[in-house]
C-alpha cells in the first residue's frame, strides 16, 4: 500500500547486509529491554503488556496492508477471541491459559474464514467498508443481546490456571507478560519469514497484479483469503492476551474506534513493517497514557491529524524514517572500509 517496496526483498549487497545486521542487533536490544521491564520498571509492565497485545493485532492489519488492502473492522477478530475466552472461563472456571488462548484464536480464525469468504470478493473501498460493517454487526449483537453478553458492561474473566497451577495475581501477570513477549518474537519472526516465502510473496502480488496471478493458475480470492485468515488469527492472539491482561471484555473491544486505532498504529509504524507494528504499538500506548491527562477529549482528533500528516508527508511511517536515517548514516560512512574488508 504505502511504501513497502524497499522491504519486499532482501538485497544481497554488502551494505544492505550490514544494515540488516544492524537492524537485527537493534531488534535484539529492544526485545531484551522489553524483557527487563518487569524488573527495572514494574509500573510499566501492565502498559507494555497491553501494547504487545495490541501490537499483535496491528500485525494482523499490517499483513493486509502488504496486499494493498485496509480493513476498518479487524477489531472484530480481536473481540471474538476475547469473548470466546470470556465465555470459556465462565463455563470452565479452571480452564488453562493455553486453552483460553487456543480457543480464542480458533474462534478468531473461524470467524475470519466466514467473514473472509465474503470480503475477499472485494478490494479497496468495499473491502475496507464491508469489514467495518461486519464489526458493527458483531458490536450490535454484543450490545443488544445483553442477557448473554452482559451488554455494555461486558463480562469479567476469572484468572485462568497456568499449566494446571492457580497463580496469584503478580505471578500470573508476569507469566502473561513473558508469554506476550514470546508470542511477539515468535509470531513476528514467523510473519517475516512468511512475507519472504513463496506463499507470502504470492499474497503480496494482490497489490500489484491480480490478472497475472489468475494467469499463473492461482485464485486471487483464495490467495487473499490465506492472508486474511492469518491476519484474523493474529488479531485473535492479541484480543485473547488483552482480555486476560485486563480481566474484562466489553463491546468496546470490537467498536470501530478500536479498528481505527489498529489501522492508525499500522500506518504509524510503517505500513507493511513487522517491527513497525510493535514499535508503533509501544509508542502509541505510552503516548496515550501520558497524553490522556490533557488530551483525552481530543485524542481521536490528534490521531486523525497525525494520520493525515503521515500519509501526506511520511508515507513510510516510523520504519520508513528509521530506514532513511540508517541509509544516510551508512552512506556517510567511508565506504572503502567495507570494500577493504572484502
Amino acid at each position: 500500500m504505502l511504501d513497502t517496496s524497499q522491504r519486499s526483498a532482501p538485497k544481497l549487497s554488502d551494505k544492505a547486509g550490514g544494515l540488516r545486521s544492524t537492524r537485527s542487533l537493534l531488534t535484539l536490544a529492544g526485545v531484551l529491554l522489553l524483557a527487563a521491564v518487569p524488573l527495572i520498571a514494574p509500573s510499566m509492565q501492565l502498559l507494555i503488556n497491553l501494547a504487545l497485545a495490541k501490537g499483535l493485532a496491528v500485525l494482523g492489519v499490517t499483513i493486509l496492508l502488504r496486499a494493498g488492502q485496509v480493513s476498518f473492522g479487524h477489531a472484530l477478530f480481536f473481540g471474538v477471541s476475547a469473548y470466546v475466552g470470556a465465555f470459556l472461563m465462565a463455563s470452565m472456571p479452571q480452564a488453562d491459559l493455553i486453552l483460553v488462548l487456543i480457543a480464542g484464536v480458533a474462534g478468531a480464525a473461524i470467524s475470519g474464514l466466514l467473514v473472509g469468504l465474503f470480503v475477499v470478493r472485494y478490494r479497496g473501498i468495499f473491502f475496507g467498508m464491508l469489514n467495518l460493517a461486519f464489526s458493527m454487526i458483531f458490536w450490535s449483537i454484543l450490545e443488544k443481546f445483553y442477557h448473554i453478553t452482559g451488554g455494555a458492561d461486558g463480562i469479567r474473566l476469572a484468572r485462568p490456571t497456568v499449566l494446571g497451577m492457580a497463580l496469584e495475581r503478580p505471578e500470573f501477570e508476569a507469566v502473561l507478560f513473558y508469554l506476550s513477549l514470546v508470542l511477539m518474537v515468535g509470531l513476528g519472526w514467523f510473519t517475516l519469514r512468511w512475507f519472504a516465502s513463496p506463499v507470502g510473496q504470492i499474497f503480496q502480488t494482490i497489490k500489484t497484479n491480480e490478472t497475472r496471478l489468475e494467469y499463473l493458475g492461482l485464485s486471487p480470492k483464495r490467495v487473499l483469503l490465506s492472508g486474511y485468515l492469518l491476519s484474523a488469527a493474529l488479531c485473535g492472539v492479541g484480543g485473547s492476551l488483552m482480555a486476560m491482561t485486563q480481566g474484562v471484555v466489553t463491546p468496546e473491544y470490537v467498536w470501530w474506534v478500536r479498528s481505527a486505532e489498529m489501522v492508525f498504529i499500522a500506518v504509524l509504524g510503517g505500513a507493511g513493517s513487522v517491527r513497525g507494528a510493535f514499535i508503533g504499538a509501544l509508542i502509541y500506548e505510552i503516548v496515550r497514557v501520558y497524553a490522556s491527562a490533557f488530551a483525552g477529549d481530543i485524542w481521536q482528533l490528534l490521531l486523525g491529524s497525525f494520520l493525515l500528516i503521515i500519509i501526506l508527508f511520511a508515507p513510510g511511517g516510523i520504519m520508513g524514517i528509521a530506514d532513511s536515517v540508517m541509509n544516510r548514516r551508512s552512506k556517510s560512512q567511508p565506504t572503502n572500509l567495507g570494500e577493504d574488508a572484502q
Binding site: L65, G124, I141, Q300, L312
Partner: protein, 301 residues
C-alpha cells in the same frame, strides 16, 4: 400483525428510508463523480443535525416562530457544505486523486476521526432534542393511524424532490453535463476546457450539503448524540453498496428496502432491527457482488 401495526411499520420505514436516502445520495454522488468514498460523510450528517438544533434553539429563544426551523435546516446544510465540505476537498482530497484507493480511504477516515472529536468538543456528549419543526406541521390520520406530517409527507417529498432534481440537474443543465463529462473521462474533459478541479469541488460541496441536509432533517425526529455519524456512514454505505456504487436511482430503491426491512423488524423482532440493513446488504452482495443496479466492471487486458 394487525393493520395498525402494519401501517405504523410502513410509515416508519418510509420516513426512515427518506432520510437515509438523502444522506446516501450525497455519498453516491461524490463516489460516482470523484471515485472517492468519503467516510467523513457520516460526520457531516451529524454536524448538520447539531447545527440545526443549535441554530433553531437560538432563534426560538429570540422569539421567532417555530416555522423558522425550516429555513434554518437549509442554512445549516449549506454551512456544512461550504465550511467543511469545501475545505476538505480543497485542502486534502485534491492532493490524493492520483494515489491508491486505500490511501484515499485512509485520508477520509482520518477526517472522520477528527470531525467526530470536533463535534464532541463543540456540542459535548449530552443528547440534544429539538422537535419544533416536527410539531409545527402537526399530525395526519390515515386509515386510523395518526402520524406526523413531517415524517410521513415532508421527508418523502424532499427525498423524491432531490432524486428528480438531481437527475434533472445532471442530465439537463450545463453544469450537470460538465459533471457527467468529467465523470466519464477526466482527462478528455480537461482537454476540451472543463475545469475538473472546480467540478470536483462543486460536486463535493453538493454531496456534503446533502449529508448536512440529511442531518438537519433528521434532527427533529431523534435525539442528537455522539456516535450518530459513525452509525450513519455505515448505514448509508450499506444503502449505496446494496444499490451499486454510484447508482442514484438504485440508492432510492435500496433505501426503501433497507428502511422498510428495519422498521418491520422493529415490530417483529426488535433485537435484530439494527442488524437488518447489514443483513440485507450482505444478502444482496452474496447474490450480486456489484449491487442491485451496478454493472460488473470488466478489466481490460
Amino acid at each position: 400483525m394487525n393493520l395498525t401495526i402494519f401501517l405504523l411499520a410502513l410509515f416508519d420505514g418510509i420516513s426512515y428510508a427518506a432520510l437515509v436516502f438523502i444522506v446516501a445520495l450525497g455519498l453516491t454522488l461524490i463516489f460516482g463523480v470523484m471515485r472517492i468514498l468519503n467516510i467523513a460523510h457520516g460526520s457531516l450528517y451529524a454536524i448538520g443535525a447539531y447545527a440545526t438544533v443549535s441554530l433553531t434553539g437560538f432563534f426560538l429563544a429570540l422569539g421567532f416562530s417555530p416555522i423558522f426551523a425550516f429555513p434554518l435546516m437549509i442554512i445549516s446544510a449549506v454551512l456544512v457544505g461550504m465550511l467543511l465540505g469545501g475545505p476538505i476537498e480543497w485542502l486534502l482530497l485534491r492532493r490524493i486523486y492520483d494515489k491508491p484507493e486505500v490511501l484515499q480511504l485512509l485520508v477520509t477516515f482520518a477526517v472522520f476521526m477528527i470531525l467526530e472529536d470536533a463535534q464532541r468538543l463543540v456540542w459535548g456528549t449530552q443528547p440534544y432534542f429539538q422537535a419544533s419543526a416536527l410539531q409545527a406541521l402537526g399530525n395526519i390520520t390515515l386509515f386510523g393511524v395518526t402520524y406526523t406530517v413531517y415524517q410521513l409527507i415532508l421527508l418523502p417529498l424532499v427525498a423524491i424532490g432531490l432524486l428528480f432534481g438531481l437527475r434533472f440537474f445532471l442530465r439537463r443543465t450545463v453544469i450537470g453535463k460538465l459533471i457527467l463529462a468529467t465523470t466519464e473521462d477526466r482527462e478528455a474533459a480537461q482537454s476540451i476546457g472543463i475545469d475538473a478541479d472546480r467540478v470536483f469541488l462543486f460536486t463535493f460541496i453538493v454531496g456534503a450539503v446533502l449529508a448536512g441536509l440529511g442531518g438537519a432533517l433528521a434532527s427533529p425526529t431523534t435525539s442528537i448524540l455522539p456516535g450518530m455519524g459513525a452509525d450513519m456512514i455505515v448505514l448509508s454505505f450499506a444503502v449505496v453498496a446494496t444499490a451499486g456504487l454510484g447508482q442514484i436511482e438504485g440508492a432510492a430503491v435500496a433505501a426503501l428496502l433497507i428502511g422498510l426491512g428495519r422498521s418491520f423488524a422493529v415490530y417483529v423482532w426488535p433485537e435484530v432491527a439494527v442488524l437488518v440493513p447489514y443483513l440485507i446488504m450482505v444478502l444482496v452482495l452474496l447474490i450480486r457482488p456489484q449491487g442491485l443496479f451496478g454493472s460488473p466492471v470488466a478489466r481490460k487486458i
